[in-house]
């Protein structure tokens, strides 16, 4: 066989990953993934606050892909359904859950995003709360399609500073990945 899925599966399991999806995302897929992950974590006896935190990261990180991925399969005239492509992986290792997402972004958007993430990494829980509340009353910046609160919410839910990476793909795009941990 030319493509060895079993090796891929073993590799994912070694990393503690029990759920992964790669391809075009939709809102209804997100709802189904959310249900499935809640059931799976319940079977593993995760506490309800933990389940809700993981679910909320899955929602925010997936909606980031839906709204901001630079890789889109089809574009509607009104832009409402344009099949954004990306990856999500949810896993458990060292007593923590993690939600890992990745998608292409325009190279020109890297600086803006990086400065936002650097700023969040410097804040403690109380500062993140205050920043969230201040931003909630502001008009979102021009790059933002949501409320501009997504990354703050992700940082607030994560028990450790967010891990992120930008891997150059070509002169137009880079691959952005984000990892958030939940205790």
């Amino acid at each position: 066989m030319s493509f060895d899925l079993y090796t891929l599966k073993k590799h994912l399991i070694q990393q503690g990953i029990f759920f992964e999806f790669s391809g075009p995302f939709s809102q209804s897929l997100l709802a189904e993934m959310g249900d499935l992950l809640k059931k799976k974590m319940k079977l593993e006896d995760a506490s309800s606050p933990t389940i809700l935190k993981v679910f909320s990261l899955v929602v925010e990180q997936t909606q980031n892909i839906i709204h901001y991925s630079a890789e889109k399969l089809a574009q509607n005239q009104n832009g409402s359904f344009d099949l954004s492509t990306g990856l999500i992986a949810v896993g458990h290792s060292d007593g923590e859950y993690f939600v890992l997402t990745g998608n292409l972004i325009d190279n020109e958007d890297i600086e803006h995003l990086k400065s936002k993430l650097v700023q969040l990494a410097k804040m403690d829980a109380e500062e993140l709360k205050q920043y969230y509340k201040t931003q909630r009353r502001q008009h979102p910046d021009h790059k933002s399609k949501g409320a501009g609160l997504g990354f703050i919410e992700i940082a607030r839910k994560s028990c450790r500073p967010l891990e992120y990476d930008f891997i150059p793909v070509d002169d137009k795009y880079s691959f952005f990945s984000l990892n958030a941990h939940i205790h």
Binding site: Q27, S28, L30, A31, D35, S48, P49, L52, K53, F55, S56, V59, E60, Q63, I66, S80, K129, K133, R136, R137, P140, G146, A147, L149, G150, I152, E153
Partner: protein
């Protein structure tokens, strides 16, 4: 005016806004893809309803199990509108209903409560069914 009823979906809440009973209710989960689109009829209804004074007290019952960050922004906008109308002399109260098991629902409620000046905003534990 007419009551506004929106049935729930997996990612949008049940909404019932009734101008005759003065009972407003938003219940369920809220993480639509396009938050502004979902909440715009609700916002329009509230603006029209509070455009005139009511002799009776209006109660908004909120029981949101989960909401995403962009819904949080819209909910803040709704509470800000109600806060402003309360300052103008309208009698409004919000009951933020949360499940004892769901500690983040309580925290979210507290974070709205802290940011409101005039609007009575009550945190209410859901009674066991």
């Amino acid at each position: 005016m007419h009551p506004l009823i929106i049935e729930s979906t997996k990612y949008t809440p049940f909404v019932s806004l009734n101008d005759e009973t003065h009972h407003l209710e938003i219940k369920g989960e809220s993480y639509p893809e396009n938050t502004a689109e979902f909440y715009s009829p609700i916002f329009a209804w509230l603006k029209e309803y509070f455009g005139q004074p009511h002799s009776q007290e209006t109660t908004l019952e909120m029981e949101i199990i989960y909401f995403n960050s962009s819904s949080s922004k819209v909910l803040m906008d709704i509470f800000d509108l109600l806060d402003e109308k309360t300052q103008d002399g309208q009698r409004i109260k919000v009951n933020w209903v949360y499940d004892q098991e769901n500690e983040s629902a309580l925290e979210y409620g507290e974070e709205f409560q802290e940011d409101l000046e005039h609007l009575p905003f009550h945190l209410v534990v859901k009674s066991p069914t």
